[in-house]
Amino acid sequence: MNWRRLESTTEPIIELIIWLCGISAIIFVFGIFFFVFKEGAGFLFGGLDLKEFFTSTEWYPNSASNKRYGVLGLIAGTASVTALSMMIAVPFGLGAAIFISEFCSNRVKESLKITIELLAAIPSVVWGFIGLTVMNPLIINMFDAPIGLNVLNGGIILALMSVPIIVSIGEDALKAVPDSFREAAIALGATRWQVIYRVLLPAARNGLLAAVLLGIGRAVGETMAVLMATGHSIRIPTSILDSVRTLTATIAAELGEAPERSEHYQVLFVIGILLFIITFVVNLIADLAVKGIREK
């Protein structure tokens, strides 16, 4: 009797706590979006020349004579570094995922997974440091580049940072393919390569796509490492040996000095909205892709 009464009072409380935990993420996401939007909206809808914003490379937020807010160079910087990093990270990441899931023994698998997770645990500022002090002279010597802080440097660093995400999600996707698929293929006389290429990859297609998209999300959003490794130099790159500057790095470098509520401050929040939209779209596609596998 007593027991039951206790239960009837604690039960709703516990339910409430769990419910709060469940919706907290939603509230935080909306809260942050609301905050970023609120700070940027004033300038976004009043004063900002959107055509100039998206089509000009001239970023002079604190010019003494002629302020210009063109982020095309920054978008090109983010896009070029992300694209290069994915060109490196996707083959390596998916290859590693296939190896871990299909080829190696259990012992090798465990040690590889731990090592790759360790790669993910390295702080981004340390990656930036490596870009600045190790990769910079290396790139100058190897490619005879005028400066080693460039798209190549940032791309390699970002690739190393997104590989762990691609590997662990890609491996999960491959593991989710039922063994009966593999057994059936082998029973039909398929070689190992044929099993992977003709059966596993199509079956795990959506999960692998999600892995790649989350890797892209990581690369677009990364700030500190690219700030240090890309040279922080505004231009539309014509080769991978050009320095660039990304959207995230611009916010990080300039928010501290922009007086609150000034145009410069607000335009940085508009860049924040832009980044939010980019990563939101990428994550949404990744989510839909993952949902795709579940339904199969």
Binding site: L16, W19, L20, I23, S24, I27, F28, F30, G31, I32, F34, F35, E39, T57, E58, W59, Y60, P61, N62, S63, A64, S65, N66, G73, L132, T133, N136, P137, I140, D144, A145, P146, I147, G148, L149, L227, G231, H232, S233, I234, R235, S243, R245, A253, E254, G256, E257, E260
Partner: protein, 309 residues
């Protein structure tokens, strides 16, 4: 009903957290004043505001009973406050004009403001140590760094940079939150002129020198004290035909090096005992160490008595 209430409650909590995140700007640092405490009012140069703040913090450790209240606003604003008699000490990155001095003397009942030089703000122009170039003019620097400037190859400077095969001048600059960036823009690039896009903007004075030491094609500016064996400081002249001066303490002190300036303190009339003690502390080793730590050039060791009035 129940759920609705919870939602609004939680929304409020979420909003609070967001607010806290958003408003984590520096809180007002008003110090509580007790009767026994002496307060020194200090205002002026924005270039020196970090330095003055650092002095104030260090001095609070040495003299807990004295509180120095620092505000910026610019040298001109600071000197105007001196004339109005609302501050005890003014930080200025320029010399006081004769007219201002006269007005300040009047307002202090016939006592002329005392001038102290407390350090220097000097920039060196750095290149890689194996770069054959030795000299550069401010005019050339403006064309290298300024928007629309026509210098972007080393060969255009008259000397062949033998270690830079692409011949391209890699411009190393500072991120725009740096005072050095502002100073360089005002005194080299031009008061209203902007920097050319495409410079490599680094976060710290030390980073600039470090990158140049590893980059044969690079040129950059940073505080004089940041030199390493990997880089070379160029001699600088204001324009072609002028004498080139090395970036060193003597040329800074004699005002012949063109991108350096002394940093001044001016007092309202004859300083009070507490103010005098504070200035003496600034001129002492402890105060000069702060000058060095904040990235400025401290006074030369043997001649560390800046009173020149």
């Amino acid at each position: 009903m129940f759920h609705k209430m919870q939602i609004s409650k939680y929304m409020a909590l979420g909003a609070l957290v967001v607010l806290a995140l958003g408003c984590s700007k520096k809180a007002d640092e008003g110090s509580a004043q007790s009767g026994a405490k002496v307060t020194i009012q200090n205002a002026g140069s924005d270039t020196m505001v970090n330095l003055a703040q650092a002095w104030s913090e260090e001095y609070a450790k040495a003299e807990p009973n004295v509180s120095v209240e620092v505000s910026g606003g610019g040298s001109g604003t600071g000197i105007a406050a001196l004339i109005n008699g609302t501050v005890d000490v003014v930080n200025s990155s320029r010399e006081i004009s004769a007219e201002e001095k006269e007005k300040a003397t009047q307002s202090a009942g016939g006592q002329a403001p005392q001038e102290y030089i407390v350090g220097y703000d000097a920039l060196a122009v750095y290149v890689h140590k194996d770069n054959p170039i030795n000299e550069i003019t401010i005019e050339q620097l403006a064309e290298i760094y300024g928007e629309g400037g026509n210098l972007d190859k080393w060969s255009q400077l008259g000397t062949r940079n033998t270690i830079c095969s692409s011949d391209e001048i890699i411009r190393v600059s500072r991120q725009s939150n740096s005072g050095t960036y502002i100073y360089f823009r005002e005194h080299v690039v031009g008061k209203t002129r902007d920097f050319k896009l495409g410079s490599t903007d680094l976060h710290g004075s030390k980073d600039v020198v470090e990158l140049i030491g590893k980059t044969p094609c690079a040129i950059g500016y940073s505080g004089m004290g940041y030199a390493t064996p990997e880089v070379k400081k160029l001699s600088v002249a204001a324009k072609a035909g002028d004498t080139f001066y090395d970036a060193n303490v003597e040329n800074t002190l004699s005002k012949s090096y063109p991108i350096a300036r002394p940093l001044y303190l001016y007092t309202h009339g004859v300083p009070s005992e507490a103010t005098k003690k504070y200035i003496d502390w600034i001129l002492s080793d402890a105060g000069q160490e702060v000058v060095e730590q904040t990235g400025y050039v401290p006074l030369p060791k043997p001649a560390a008595n800046g009173a020149s009035n």
